[in-house]
Subunit: 377 residues, 2 copies
Amino acid sequence: MKFILSSIFLQSFAKFLYSIILGVITGWKMVNKKRNVITLKDVAIKVGVDKSTVSRALNPGTQDLLSPEVVARIRDVATRMGYRKNQLARSLRTQRTMTVGIVLPDITNTLFAPIVRGAESILEPLGYTSMIVNTDDDSERRNYLIGVLLERGVDGIIDAAPQISTTQFKSIEEHGVPLVTAIRKTDRTSIPAVINDDEEGIRLLIRYLHVRGHRKLAHIAGPETLSTGHLRLNAFRQQTSLIGLDIPENAIAYAMRFDEDEGSRCALDLLVSGLDFTAIVCANDRLALGAIKALHQSGIQCPEDISVTGFNDLPFLNLIPPGLTTIRIQQFDVGRLSAELLTRMMTNQEAAIPSTSILPVELVERGSVSKPRTNSF
Amino acid sequence: MKFILSSIFLQSFAKFLYSIILGVITGWKMVNKKRNVITLKDVAIKVGVDKSTVSRALNPGTQDLLSPEVVARIRDVATRMGYRKNQLARSLRTQRTMTVGIVLPDITNTLFAPIVRGAESILEPLGYTSMIVNTDDDSERRNYLIGVLLERGVDGIIDAAPQISTTQFKSIEEHGVPLVTAIRKTDRTSIPAVINDDEEGIRLLIRYLHVRGHRKLAHIAGPETLSTGHLRLNAFRQQTSLIGLDIPENAIAYAMRFDEDEGSRCALDLLVSGLDFTAIVCANDRLALGAIKALHQSGIQCPEDISVTGFNDLPFLNLIPPGLTTIRIQQFDVGRLSAELLTRMMTNQEAAIPSTSILPVELVERGSVSKPRTNSF
DNA sequence: TTGAAAGCGCTAACAA
DNA sequence: TTGTTAGCGCTTTCAA
């Protein structure tokens, strides 16, 4: 262990050495004097009662078993001694950690952070603490991290990083830990999912484009392994077919990741395919941003030559020209509702839990869509 | 408890009801059959050894006390039974939770998420899990949340939300929990801090502006309670004085928060003050974005009429016109180095810990700075 | 109304 | 090389 630590540290240390300008040796005290932590027993001795009595006095649920004077005295002494409950010990005894795991692809992706805040807006007041893990959409990492959460005895899991079809819930189910998926869903209806209305979003966009005269649409689809990518692609196909648009197969480019680079690559693919199109419906904002960039680099202007739409409405999007027309989703509320459902499951509220909850979306009109250049009305 | 839950839920439920389009009652199994969790004892019985032997066999550090055959057999049975260690019980016994607390102002602020990833890049391989809390820069929340972390027995804390002068470390010190501040520092040299070179950043910017002919500078300062705001303001004063620029007191506007609205407000304040200036040095990017917006709304163009600079180099900044000239900091590495120092402290490595580690910064040249309109060379 | 005792699942000191 | 035992700090029966 020591060796591992040293080597890891040395490696990084060398890298950082040049950067450590001011390196005064600190006087930080390694307070290793048997961490002066006060336990129930300490308080009990001080007050002259049994530790079980102190436990009762300090717990809101049991304090009225005791005489008010005793409770008052114990509480007084406890606060004066600086007593803090040991949640660990308590959890071991009660078999509840008051902890939930939140599984994300990547916390640095601005799409997911609000989900966490939404979930915590419900969980924190209830006394839950969350443990956030980042899978980077890597299923091996995901497995490992879920294992970590399980070992730490989380009372429930909010999973914002599931793939559509997955066997990765086996371990969670074996442990009997309540699970809700957020923003994405799986093919298991037995797992409650809270998502945005992906289909309606695409419908709104296509209708919007259609009204403005666009007839030749292309689509940059997200990963098919994710419900968001899958549902949006399906919706694209259905809606275009519904309003009678002909979509050749090469009008659909498939992104392997929801990022700008893939957006660029796909846009280029569409361009070189020789296909004639006036607008690109992108499965999310980042793909759209990448697509616009690629178009520009190819000398094609958005929206003058080709219109582009996104999905999600990331922050700061309004400041980026030409202003992406996109679909606004409710990330915070997805987190919130997920947490609400999860708390019900964790507390065995028998009330019905929807297998899927779909939050409404809204079209945000900006500058990335105009009438098609060659108006084919 | 039930009441609280119900009322909270009902409230939200009403709000969401309209939005739950598909609400099929789920068949989710409330697996309440005494969570089938395998313990050491179960494995021990199956193998026919004592649980302490199983413990030894499963722990890398103690497994060579046992005969290889026994270890192999135990490990085999354990995995086949699906045994998972109970980290809780282990922590209670070892007095180490292998958990670190990360204190942030707000995870949705793109500035802080990379710090988390940086820290985890070090902590995760070592077996640590992190608990992230958001203070919203509210000292009451902060106190409460630090209490939560302490009750949960974190082995160390990375604090990216400290105020300069604070008594809020008392509880942490009482518990003897190692602490490192990240991105911001305090006035206590006994607390190791890992920060960016705020002073050099401001110096670079002022020099850059000066070279291009700017002589009349204004500053939008961040909150003085935060080291970032404080240090950058000081650096502004020093550097301008050093190169002989006269900065009247009303050339400095004080933002109460590091956000766009305050940036706008401060820019307006500078404008109405009647002061003559050709450039605004802003204490961070968000203030700068707000300032530019306010300028535009006042019919003043950036950079044609007034130049503006930022600090931090947030993602997507390159896509926002006119392209903010700013200082790039190393968020990820701040997190990483903080974690490295913390792990050393947590493992009682006696080696010297720098009281302050300053990471280098870099000027990013974009479009928000031009020569001053009335060139006063 | 309070105390005594057991035990959550694990590790580690001491025996054997 | 393995087993026995104690106990981490807490809650929760069961008694008193």
